[in-house]
């Protein structure tokens, strides 16, 4: 009984111990904030990459892509585990928006209507998805409207132009020629400078969806892939939507166009011609990647193996030899994005380790303060022993004291960490406004908001470590107190 009583008394009355309590609190809060931001960043990375990638990806590093993809897709779609599969093209090009904004961009060709069951790219689109969700979340929206908005948001995304040619012509009088030839293009939000206002609301150009863009890409032949300016392909598009995948690398410099148009512009479509020696050549169509979505509950790795067999069969040994060191690979979404994900994973481990190392300071602080307290309390220890307390009982007081400081300190640390994490984007914004400090650079960290989710399991581990550290810090002073001879302790000056 006396142990608990004295622990609680010392906790309240010995203000010097509050220093160690604050140290534990700050270290706990610091590690919780760091691990939550880094962990949240990693989780967001994974979720976002998974959402824009699909479950399994067949790809080849070369921009020239690979052939026989239609056969592969047909066989893959026949697998019971597969919900959908679609080819994707990736290349680079030059964009000129409204003849005013010119930039180099990554160009992705998508058969958008087929992507519904493959990945969640649709969820990144503002006009065809985001605006409806925003309106659904508005408390002023009636239940009936909300249902209607949900249905609108559920529609498959497309490159279809939202306005008539007359409306486009009216908005862009400088345009000449047949506007039917203008296809639809989706732009990454960063490409057209879409940002957030002071309240965090995304600001759109008023005339974004009547803007047009000229996209120039260079075809690449499988054999002797060289750029030839004479073969460049120019095509005009109307911007039909903007995409916010939340991955900065995509949003800042990527445009999305219909797959078949890009395939044609890159010279990767199916071709039959006669060469200079009179041989009839049939070149199969090519793609850069095939993205595959699985049904819920499907075994990712087993399905990947099945798809690998399909790919091996479709490529054949001749083509495999020809592809050589740059083969077609079948990867899970995590493998496909490994260079991003593992970098973030390593960064999380490193930063957590470094901050944990700093937190060891707290153990030494507790040790020093407890040592001081034991010295200061030497006579009290003698008194307690004179009324019959055992050595283990006295050690128990100081270990319990350390435990109490660990529990209270880590509890307050959790509270502080939660408040910081919960308001981290607001605090960051205010720091930016008041002091001009920007710690979170979206270009570096890929996301334009700081992740603010707390993982309960990680928090439990951090708190347990904080409590154990506090007890460890109190251990040596507790042993010293236990070993004190009662008479020597009573005579201590």
């Amino acid at each position: 009984m006396y142990k608990l009583h004295l622990i609680l008394k010392y906790l309240r009355k010995r203000r010097i111990a509050w220093v160690s309590l604050i140290a534990v609190m700050m270290c706990t809060a610091m590690v919780i904030v760091v691990i939550s931001v880094m962990g949240g960043w990693l989780r967001m990375f994974k979720e976002t990459f998974h959402d824009i990638t699909g479950d399994i990806v067949i790809s080849r590093r070369s921009l020239t892509g690979f052939a026989n993809y239609e056969v592969m897709i047909e066989k893959i779609k026949a697998l019971p585990e597969v919900a959908g599969a679609a080819p994707t093209l990736k290349t680079y090009g030059l964009i000129d928006i409204n003849r005013r904004m010119r930039d180099g961009v990554q160009v992705i060709g998508l058969p958008l209507e087929q992507m519904q069951n493959v990945n969640g790219f649709r969820h990144s689109l503002y006009r065809q998805y985001g605006q409806y969700i925003e309106a659904t979340d508005d408390p002023k929206t009636t239940a009936e409207d909300r249902e209607q908005l949900k249905q609108l948001a559920e529609r498959p995304a497309s490159f279809a132009k939202p306005y008539s040619n007359e409306e486009y012509q009216a908005a862009n009088p400088e345009l000449k020629g047949n506007l039917n030839n203008f296809a639809g293009m989706i732009v990454g939000a960063g490409v057209v400078g879409i940002g957030k206002d002071a309240k965090g609301k995304i600001e759109h150009w008023p005339a974004l969806f009547t803007a047009y863009a000229r996209l120039t890409v260079m075809p690449l032949a499988e054999q002797g892939a060289t750029l030839d300016p004479m073969t460049k392909s120019d095509r005009y598009f109307f911007i039909v939507d903007d995409s916010r995948t939340k991955v900065w690398q995509y949003d800042s410099n990527t445009v999305y166009v219909p797959f078949d148009l890009l395939q044609k512009d890159l010279g990767m479509d199916k071709k039959s011609y006669t060469d200079s020696e009179g041989n009839k050549i049939n070149e199969p169509a090519r793609t850069s990647e095939i993205h595959i979505g699985l049904k819920l509950g499907a075994n990712l790795w087993a399905t990947r193996d099945k798809i690998q067999q399909i790919v091996d069969g479709a490529i054949g040994s001749d083509q495999a030899t020809q592809l050589g060191i740059d083969p077609v690979v079948v990867q899970t979404w995590e493998q496909f994005n490994a260079k991003f994900i593992s970098a973030v994973e390593h960064e999380k481990v490193l930063v957590t380790f470094l901050f944990s190392l700093i937190s060891i300071v707290a153990i030494f602080l507790i040790f020093c303060i407890f040592y001081m307290i034991v010295v200061e309390k030497t006579r009290d220890i003698g008194i307690i022993k004179s009324v019959g307390a055992t050595a283990s009982g006295v050690a128990g007081i100081f270990l319990g004291y350390g435990l109490a400081i660990g529990i209270v300190g880590s509890g307050l640390g959790l509270l502080a960490g939660y408040l910081i994490i919960h308001n981290i984007n607001f605090l960051h914004e205010k720091m930016g406004e008041l002091m001009g400090i920007q710690i979170w650079n979206p270009e570096v960290y890929a996301f334009d908001i700081i992740p603010n989710t707390i993982n309960p399991r990680e928090v439990a581990v951090i708190m347990a470590v904080a409590v154990v550290s506090s007890v460890l810090g109190a251990f040596v002073p507790a042993v010293r107190a236990a070993r004190l001879h009662p008479v020597e302790a009573l005579r201590f000056e």
Partner: protein, 248 residues
């Protein structure tokens, strides 16, 4: 004061020695040299007896009291409590002895500054009981502490901290703490040594009352013959030996 602490079984002075020292030796190392403060000390205290051990400063009287009270160990010889050699007890056994059989009053009171009067008095009981046991007996323990404090004239100061009390009041609280667990032997180490003459007299009156009206066995050390004379028997410690005994 008449109703002070309910005392254990013995109500009359018995010839049986409750505490006996036989050939007790104690040596201290002082730098390069050693000082022997107790040289084969023999002593016997009977149940209900009030014994004063008198000696000059540094004569070893406090050391002898600490050894008798199992706070310190002798280098040689034996201490028998109820005919049991204390040296045969392990550390926990000695702690139990100090908790439930012995009570200590020191010259400098030695109250815990963070605890109030009531909590300081309850300290020995808190050590004796587990958390659950203390909660179970809480009411009766508080009643006992209140009674003891009341009889020592400290009932009006229950919530005060030691730094809010006078020297005499602190010593009364120290006596209350020592009596809380109804000890069979009360050890008092210069109980008036830090008090003015009047307050010292009051404290000695409390001790005398404990002895006379409640048959409390008391072993007290003092350097003051006037104080020592209030005991049944005076033993003088000189040059490490109990040289002379004086009985009232």
């Amino acid at each position: 004061m008449a109703q002070l602490a309910e005392q254990p079984e013995t109500t009359i002075k018995s010839d049986a020695a409750i505490l006996r020292a036989s050939g007790v030796r104690k040596t201290f190392r002082m730098g390069e040299s050693t000082v022997t403060v107790l040289k084969n000390v023999d002593l016997s205290i009977r149940t209900g007896e009030f014994v004063a051990i008198e000696g000059r400063s540094g004569s070893g009287k406090s050391t002898l009291l600490h050894i008798l009270g199992a706070l310190d160990a002798a280098d040689g010889g034996s201490i028998f409590y109820d005919n049991q050699d204390i040296a045969t007890l392990d550390s926990a056994g000695k702690s139990r002895l100090r908790n439930t059989h012995f009570g200590f009053v020191f010259q400098f009171y030695y109250l815990l500054p963070e605890l109030n009067v009531m909590e300081n008095t309850l300290l020995a009981a808190m050590v004796e009981y587990s958390w659950f046991g203390f909660r179970t007996h809480h009411a009766e323990l508080r009643k006992r502490a209140t009674e003891v404090l009341d009889q020592l004239g400290m009932a009006h100061r229950l919530k005060h901290r030691p730094n809010q009390l006078s020297g005499g009041e602190r010593q009364r609280v120290a006596i209350a703490r020592a009596l809380m667990n109804k000890p069979r032997v009360l050890f008092a180490d210069e109980p008036t040594g830090n008090l003015d003459a009047e307050t010292g007299r009051q404290i000695m009156s409390v001790m005398e009352n404990l002895h006379k009206n409640h048959n409390q066995t008391i072993a007290m050390v003092t350097h003051d013959r006037t104080i020592a004379r209030q005991a049944d028997r005076i033993l003088v410690l000189k040059d490490g030996k109990l040289e002379r005994a004086e009985e009232r």
